[in-house]
């Protein structure tokens, strides 16, 4: 790589983020190929299946394996009536151009507001700041390449899982997948992400049951509207010790 400075050019060796096609085989059929960063692939497969409505819980997974050669995930599931219906519907769907981060809408699973479990849960501002510092520490470690998003699963101030991916949706799916695989309920957890918050991200998080979503970037207007309606506490522009609370601010204790 040639680095051009204002007054000189130097040559150096750069580290690039890997990008691989990863295929999810569902019950013997190729379901989808995802461009992603080759880490936490099982978490990605499981999180993807959950986020898209193909499974509703860990018990729906009858068998799960990873073929490193593909790489691909081989998943056998208990197909509920809903999932089967979804699967058929999608086969008939026209959704061209879903290449890597285009803003294409496909009929996903039904949106799901948060329930009674999260109705009284609060989170301390000090804990959010502490978790953010820890996540930034992890991100520093990984910041060789600059080209990735990350997402973290946090219990109060503690970071339980940290993922990164070239796709912001993938990074979040890895968190959802880890929570399912490890049996860690999201009901009382905080999810921190580096990515922008659009309405599909809010749908993904409320579906998974996470009551607090923190981003270092901005939310869209539609994301804030949905988060308000669905009971999610949406926090954006979390940088240093500052952050903005866009919805359900009652959940954030000021101490």
């Amino acid at each position: 790589v040639l680095r051009f400075h204002a007054d000189r050019v130097e040559s150096f060796q750069d580290t690039l983020v890997a990008e691989i096609p990863f295929t999810v085989q569902l019950n013997g059929e190729e379901l989808v190929t995802i461009l992603c960063t080759p880490e936490h692939l099982l978490e990605l497969a499981v999180g993807y299946l959950y986020s898209e409505g193909f499974i509703g819980n860990k018990e729906d997974i009858l068998d799960l394996g990873l073929d490193r050669a593909g790489p691909s995930a081989l998943v056998t599931t208990r197909l509920s009536v809903n999932a089967r219906d979804l699967y058929e519907k999608r086969k008939r769907l026209i959704t061209p151009g879903c290449i890597d981060a285009a803003g294409i809408q496909a009929p996903g699973p039904d949106a799901r507001p948060l329930g009674a479990e999260q109705a009284s849960l609060t989170v301390r501002a000090a804990d959010i700041r502490k978790a953010l510092r820890e996540v930034n520490g992890f991100a520093e470690l990984y910041r060789r390449t600059g080209g990735v998003h990350n997402a973290a699963l946090c219990a109060g101030p503690a970071v339980l899982f940290f993922s990164e991916d070239i796709g912001r949706h993938n990074a979040l799916d890895k968190v959802v997948g880890r929570s399912l695989l490890a049996g860690i309920p999201l009901d009382d957890k905080t999810v921190i992400t580096s990515g922008r918050i659009s309405s599909p991200v809010v749908m993904k998080m409320t579906r998974a049951g996470a009551p607090v979503l923190v981003s270092r970037s901005a939310p869209t207007s539609e994301a804030v509207r949905l988060a308000e309606a669905f009971g999610l506490t949406l926090i954006g522009f979390a940088r240093g010790s500052r952050f903005n609370v866009y919805s359900n601010g009652w959940r954030v204790e000021r101490t």
Copy 2:
């Protein structure tokens, strides 16, 4: 919005980036719905159709209209044999989960290396820096919300068109669409974007014929490999007067 500082909480009015579903109707049928920022919608529709292989040039568009109510674009095209084939193939395609920036691969149009037109074209480092400064100036103007990507079409040091969108692919499609609609060939132009460069972005740009792609973010390993093979000069981490040249560096004149 509540802004939490280290030592106090203030309430303020924030400006959020708009996010709308925009439908492209192709020859009377609904082709796709794209989540996007409601600016330059005609450019987005045309750029999308080109990038996805439904049109090959401006002449393929027989009629083009915008229904502001939807909003949707109503496009009538001359369907070449290839486009018809593509259209049919996609109808039979399973591509679930293409919601907003997931890294899903769908069979797009054939990748297309740059041709003879761009084989001897060079660009001056000083012009790249000048164009970057101008693009940053535009971005400042628009930086009320923080939640958008942008892309610009540049002739040497001059910025001819500036677009922004919540999706990095959308911002680039708007540039491609503008170039087609305004009859500005991309063969000798530089495209500047804020977004990360993955392999589909490289495919989109070489297909459109742009020989130089500059990003303020990082490229992936696969993007660099493709750019090298397809003749594209790929520049990343363009910040201030520094930038890194990842492929086909012969095209960058050091003055």
